[in-house]
Amino acid sequence: MSKIIAGLLLAASFVRAQEPRQIMEEVQRRQRSESQHYEGTLEVIGNGSRIATKRWVFDRIGAFGNSKGMLRFTVPAEVKGVGLLIVNHTDRASDQWLWRPNIGREQRIALQDRSTRFFGTDFSFEDLEERDVAQFDYKLLGDEKDTWKLQSTPRKSSQYTYGYLWVKKDNYTIVKVESYNKKGLVRVIDYRDFELAKGIWTARTIEVADVTRNSRTTLKYDKLEYNLPMKDGDFTLDALRRGP
């Protein structure tokens, strides 16, 4: 009898795991870390040929959706030192400030300006923030062999009206995102070259394609580390101005 009950509970939990919100909560849970550090190399490719290479260093403190991130360009020389502070919130869109050393003042990136491309890459400012799963409604659209296909609709203000996500069943990683606005498809993000780092499956290559501009940017992670000791005081406006 107890085996039957246990079997029923297992079956029930399996069914529950198929529910879109549970899938996304599991995705977020498996990405959880106290901090993250990586050095990213970006290649911007327009009209089929590489037109720019940039590098940045990214640090994040706090768990996904309620974290703070600091991004600083290191290459090319003319943008070296440019920084972006991202303060993510569980209940609303992030706050973002941009620092340009040649101007010497920080600039708040307004919510309505988040659809702008970030320094000529195909990432928009909004793409750089982390949004908690609670900020979206989800719908399961397909249950394929290896992946689930979900539709996400933002509850809060966003440049996107909805998106499609593909989540791998074996390790709950997002492998592809298509983001749409009222006019249609805007961006396609492909996550590739997954590696297990400190128990977290992480895509070492992210390719963002701006469909409207026929341009794409490839971000490759280097020196990826999780759970390094970091201080909250290094993720403030003062820290943004102070530099690394």
Partner: protein
Amino acid sequence: MTGLLLFALLAQNFEQRGFIQNQALFYPQTTSNDGAQAVDQAAIRWEASYKVAPWLKLAGALDARADTHRQVNRDAQLNVDDRTTQRPAFSLRELNATLHKGKVTAEFGRQIIRWGKTDILTPTDRFAPKDYLSSVVDSDFLAVPAARITIAGANDSFDAIWQPWFTPSRTPLLNQRWTALPPELNGVTIADAGARYPGRSQFGLRWNHIAPRYEYSLSYFDGFNNLPLFSASLDPATAAVRAQRFYPSMRMYGADTAIPLPWLTVKGEAGYFTSTTPGAQDYVLYVIQVERQIKEWSLVGGYAGEAVTSGAANALSFTPDRGFAKSFVGHATLTIDVNRSLTVETAVRSAGSFVRFEYSQAFREHWRVTPGVAWIRGDMTDFLGQYHRNSYASLGVRYSF
């Protein structure tokens, strides 16, 4: 082997960057005091910083300059105070130490300090003298020697600055086109009689608060205007007018705010300025601007205003900050792609206006070419209009490293 490891360790904490730049300026018209129609200026800037410890960083920047128009002094000596009328050939632009512990950051030495939130005109930016030698519509900031303590929390920061030695803005040379002389002074020789610098220090306080839907600052400054008034006297021996610069005392009560609204961001900044120096006015300078990104366009537009509360206007002054007041100001940048951008900047007043176009293109990782045009119109009664013969075309080439 140990040496190599030590070197690698040191290099890890060392950062540097800089540029080599050449800019050519072409003026279609001459002025009564300046016949040059082509000016070339070259600059090398090297900035370096070294993190001695997690709580201590040393930083410095050196400039080397040369030009064809004697705006740059040709003496081969290192300048450290930026008080010369000409730009020094070699100057210590910045040299400072930053100490950081917990919520407190202390910076000592020559440093660039910026306050305020608005863009084209920033009334509360009192520790930021500028170099106006080459243009009053496109000028570079100068560093000041100061001690700055910042206490920063998640939502509030408090800034205290003490500047022991005064750094003036570098005003246009009297025998060059950005000193606009009225026609009645044609033929009169005007000689620079130097400057009387303030004998005491200046200080300022600023509190900045960040809330989810807005942010604002309150600021206070007690010191001197970095823009001069002039006292003029006739030298009977040479029949020349001798103009001496002096810097009126200034007390400022300022505020600035940024409010992101659903469709645009509103920014405002205002300062109330008082002075005890005879010949200086008390006034309010304010800017209200809105900004918005639309696709690849970054658009800023607003109005800069001024209200004089006491004192009479002083004709013997150089006040580009107030010169932009009572103007509609605008700034637009189009990011064409990762390497190319187009910028338009304008100020429109009742009797004078300017518009500046700049196209910028990067080549490979290091090179950037920036051609531009500035067009200035108006009459001699207006701050901008007085420079109506100074419209120019420019071509900048920069190698960043």
